[in-house]
Point group: C2
Chain length 228, copies 2
């Protein structure tokens, strides 16, 4: 995580366009930089909507239901922007999978400022829609797919986002534990482990240590993901 200037990073990645210094200054005023250790939670005031820019590292967005059940709603990596609503039906939290640096914005002020620059607003919209479409695909998986299909989908998605292409395959260095994967796919850690084994036996993946996964044939894995 070579990241010592989160706000610079934010400007480079989110607005992606030059803006009046006045707007930039106002954004900087409301940005609260935080640095979170692996396993710790990004400090959020849960009574108000927030935006969090992930400047470096990796995070999981967790929703808590009753009975201590946790569902990971999304993973977010470097340069992602996360929208976090105030608690309603479920309570949301953002946890670091690795040492993470981030900027926390109050949603109201953030949106007001961003809206004053049309280009900013458009980019924000684009990112929100991407998040929405990802969330829908996740919903399809959670609602209608078998354990094997869910894990295969997970691999394909992660390959797109944080994979290092390698011929027809891909090398993945997963920052999340098996439990996290389970909490994301709506499965238990044991089921995840068994499906890892099943894909390994099928010769589609190889695991090295706890974090490294080599995907040998992404099209073949996508075939097992139950996509159209």
């Amino acid at each position: 995580m070579a990241d010592y200037l989160p706000f610079e990073n934010f400007l480079r990645s989110v607005p992606r366009t030059t803006a009046p210094t006045e707007v930039v200054r106002r954004l900087e005023t409301i940005a609260k930089p935080v640095r979170v250790a692996r396993g710790a939670s990004v400090p959020l005031e849960s009574s108000t909507d927030l935006f969090v820019f992930i400047s470096g590292g990796a995070t999981k967005l967790i929703a808590s239901a009753s009975g201590g059940r946790e569902q990971i709603v999304a993973f977010h990596f470097e340069n992602d922007l996360v929208s976090i609503p105030a608690d309603t039906w479920h309570s949301y939290g953002l946890s670091a999978l690795a040492e993470t640096s981030a900027l926390v914005f109050p949603a109201n002020e953030f949106l007001n400022i961003m809206q004053s620059e049309p280009a900013f607003c458009g980019i924000l919209l684009e990112r929100s829609l991407t998040a929405l479409h990802r969330c829908r695909d996740k919903a399809v998986g959670l609602g209608r797919k078998s354990a094997e299909e869910r894990l295969a989908s997970f691999f394909v998605g992660m390959a797109e986002r944080i994979g290092l292409a390698n011929g027809g395959g891909c090398e993945l260095d997963l920052p999340m534990s098996r439990r996290d994967i389970g909490d994301s796919l709506g499965l238990t850690i044991e089921t995840i482990s068994r499906q890892f084994g099943s894909l390994r036996e099928a010769g589609l993946i190889e695991t090295v240590g706890r974090t490294r996964v080599n995907l040998f044939d992404i099209p073949q894995i996508a075939l097992r993901a139950g996509h159209i």
Copy 2:
């Protein structure tokens, strides 16, 4: 469905603010009005991203996975704006639950025009974020909740959106079939039926005919929904 001027309706409901006539004219140019019978699908060109404004009626947004499995990703009612991505992992379709009139916009041009008015853009953003947060809550339900909790959540959500408050309870006139509810909650129609029965026996709901559901005690139902 008292709706004979979809575009007027759109202007009243989405931008919610006066705009230069030039912008309005450009929007009208790209809006394709459609009228869809109950059970039919809104005609979409699946090769490009779209926005659909529901001027009147009720719809389900369906995602198809392999093997003919369908997951309803969201229900949309009067004055809702739906974002529909081009087919990627899953193929999306929008079906009418009742006679529906709608406006179909190509996403690219729609976003370009909307971005030229900061106020429009802000409202669009707000709606996208609402959709995202709803989708996340749905994901929690699909990933981590029992059949009873899912149906209770469904009732609470529908009560908020299309219910007629009635003392501590609410009258619901559901436009969707048991199959639709099942496809939305990731359950089979038989399980839905059994959970209806279970809530009925518990004295929390009453069903009249096929579509009317009376919720007697929403707080009590919310308690069974597994919310925090």
